[in-house]
Amino acid sequence: VIDLISHNPRMVGELLSNEAHLLDIAEYPEWLSLYTADAEYWMPVDPGAADPADSLNIILDDRSRLEDRVARLLSGSAHIESPPSVTRRIVSSLVVDRCAHGHGSDLEARSVFILVQSRLGQQSIIAGDYRHCLRWEGESLRIRRKRVSLLERNVPVQPFGYLL
């Protein structure tokens, strides 16, 4: 049995970079292919929330809802993204560990993101933390769960339709 953690931080980094790239160039169907069939995407209101089920969330998507989100974004009738935002993000400070809740070989990747969003000439900066739970599917590493935490609780968040 290989030591998954010591052998794969580079693979994890590439996956996260690839995800960031696909989101920034708005290749959403390909982005979805990075996720497992039972994926969960979570963005809590409270960055310190421990459990999504009993919290008020900005996003708590299962795979179906995530596909709905992408479909809405691509439909042309999500007015908040018409015209669409353009984003560029930097994902860094990556730390890879075993995933405490998951299969034995699941990995947890913690990282920091800084994203610049531009729409109609107005730019905003959004920063926060990513926490990915990654799962091996054959030779591929897929995203089983992604948690996006913003920096502060109880502050206004600008409405958005693009994906963090």
Binding site: M43, V45, D46, A53, D54, S55, L56, N57, I58, I59, L60, D62, S64, R65, D68, R69, A71, R72, S75, S77, A78, H79, I80, S82, R153, N154, V155, P156, V157, Q158, P159, F160, G161
Partner: protein, 427 residues
């Protein structure tokens, strides 16, 4: 003030942009009457507080040491420093960190540092200025700067009946708010959100993407409304209005539950509840089926409590949170949370598109060409001229702009400060 700002059918568009008018609104629309400041469950225990706003004035809603609800100014009486920086918490005392003065939960000054340099008289009136009026109705707390304001029940009038239906929509089960809220600001005037929360005309268009998703997921194309049929609007007086779909929309709303993660599990049963009760609670997840707007800053939509907070003439904060069952069960509350998150919040499938429309309206207002904004959909020639001040609750079709006309009639009444004004003028 702008002449003929509202003529019963249209509004002078500068009412969304005029700074002097906005300042007058803060006085006459917000400080002169009742304003919603929070839910009793936000401040359940002695010392619990939440920072709130009356118009643009920062205040603190607090459960005082005698159990009473108080609304205090968030402003040290000495130099004006805010005494509370966080949105909620629990305290024994508020303390101004500038010169160290302390205040109890009823707003009384209990500690002045080095007080010997003050006379008794100099300190006697210096406190956190508790608002003269705080009343609650079925858990909803309202406050006023105006000591002469009529009772809350007079102010609510027939709207109280809708509030009752809202509070009772889960039978005898008590409700509570979530500790967190979805909060967003938009670049536009506060009245745009007041209009929109009871606008039965926009949904098919502004929210087309949401209905498409629901059609795909449920296999049923259940548009929110048709042009004429289904649902009613009522002007309940004093600016309170309602858009009522409770008789027509329930099956479409229930279909949406199927798309929620965890719904199938809940249908199989909930520990400790018989299945008719489970079914009742599931059926209640979309709420009582109407949008109630309590003038000027509260909207109850589905299971949601929405607060509208003016920040400036062209900037508004909106705070929304779902009501949950105070005693659980968790399975049902989780579905209530998921139902709310589906449409609302900064990344919901509905609310962001409303905000985009507010931004577009603000963009369209640029230039201040003294245009008019129209609310004449469904005006009937037989209707009596507006601003007579005495008329029975008016009723219209779902897509009529009757609710907006009701809001602006009250707005004009307050802004004109006429003697017939329900709430009177501030002394």
């Amino acid at each position: 003030m702008t002449p003929v700002s509202f003529d019963g059918r249209s509004l002078d568009s500068s009412c969304y942009q005029d700074q002097a008018l906005f300042d007058l609104e803060m006085e006459r629309v917000f400080r002169a009457s009742w304003v919603y400041v929070g839910h009793e469950t936000d401040v359940g225990q002695v010392g619990d507080f939440a920072t709130v706003e009356i118009g643009t004035t920062p205040c603190i809603l607090v459960r005082a040491d005698d159990g009473s609800l108080q609304v205090l100014r968030n402003r040290c009486p000495h130099r004006g420093t805010t005494v509370c920086q966080v949105p909620n918490g629990n305290v024994k005392r508020f303390r101004c960190q500038y010169h160290g003065w302390t205040f109890d939960t009823r707003g009384r000054t209990v500690g002045v540092t080095f007080p010997e340099a003050y006379s008794q008289e100099a300190l006697s009136a210096k406190n956190l200025m508790p608002l003269p009026k705080v009343e609650s109705y079925r858990g909803f707390v309202f406050a006023s700067f105006n000591p002469m304001v009529p009772s809350l029940s007079d102010h609510l009038g027939p709207a109280a009946g809708y509030l009752d239906r809202y509070v009772d929509h889960c039978g005898q089960r008590a409700l509570r708010t979530t500790p967190d809220a979805h909060m967003s600001t938009y670049p536009g005037n506060w009245k745009l959100q007041m209009e929109n929360g009871v606008d039965g005309y926009h949904a098919n268009f502004t929210h087309a993407s949401f209905f498409d998703i629901m059609a795909k997921r449920t296999g049923k194309r259940s548009r929110y409304i048709t042009a004429s049929g289904g649902g009613e609007t009522f002007d309940l007086g004093n600016g309170h209005v309602v858009l009522d779909q409770s008789q027509v929309a329930s099956s479409a709303l229930l279909d949406r539950l199927m798309t929620l993660p965890g719904y199938a599990d809940a249908q199989k049963g909930v520990d400790g509840l018989d299945s008719p009760e489970v079914n009742r609670l599931l059926a209640a997840i979309p709420g009582p089926g109407f949008n109630l707007a309590i003038y000027p800053n509260l909207q109850l939509i589905g299971i949601q409590v929405r607060e509208i907070v003016p920040l400036s003439v062209t900037s508004t904060l909106v705070r929304v949170r779902p009501l949950l069952l105070a005693e659980g069960p968790a399975v049902i509350n989780r579905l209530r949370l998921r139902y709310h998150e589906m449409f609302y919040g900064p990344a919901g499938f509905g609310q962001p598109d409303d905000f985009e429309m507010f931004a577009r309206i603000s963009a369209g207002l640029a230039g201040n060409c003294r245009d008019r904004t129209w609310f004449d959909r469904g005006v009937k020639e037989s209707n009596p001229a507006p601003d007579d001040g005495i008329r029975p609750p008016e009723k219209g079709q779902l897509t009529d702009e009757l609710p907006q006309r009701g809001q602006y009639r009250e707005w004009l009444r307050r802004m004109s400060n006429s003697p017939a004004t329900e709430d009177g003028a501030m002394a």
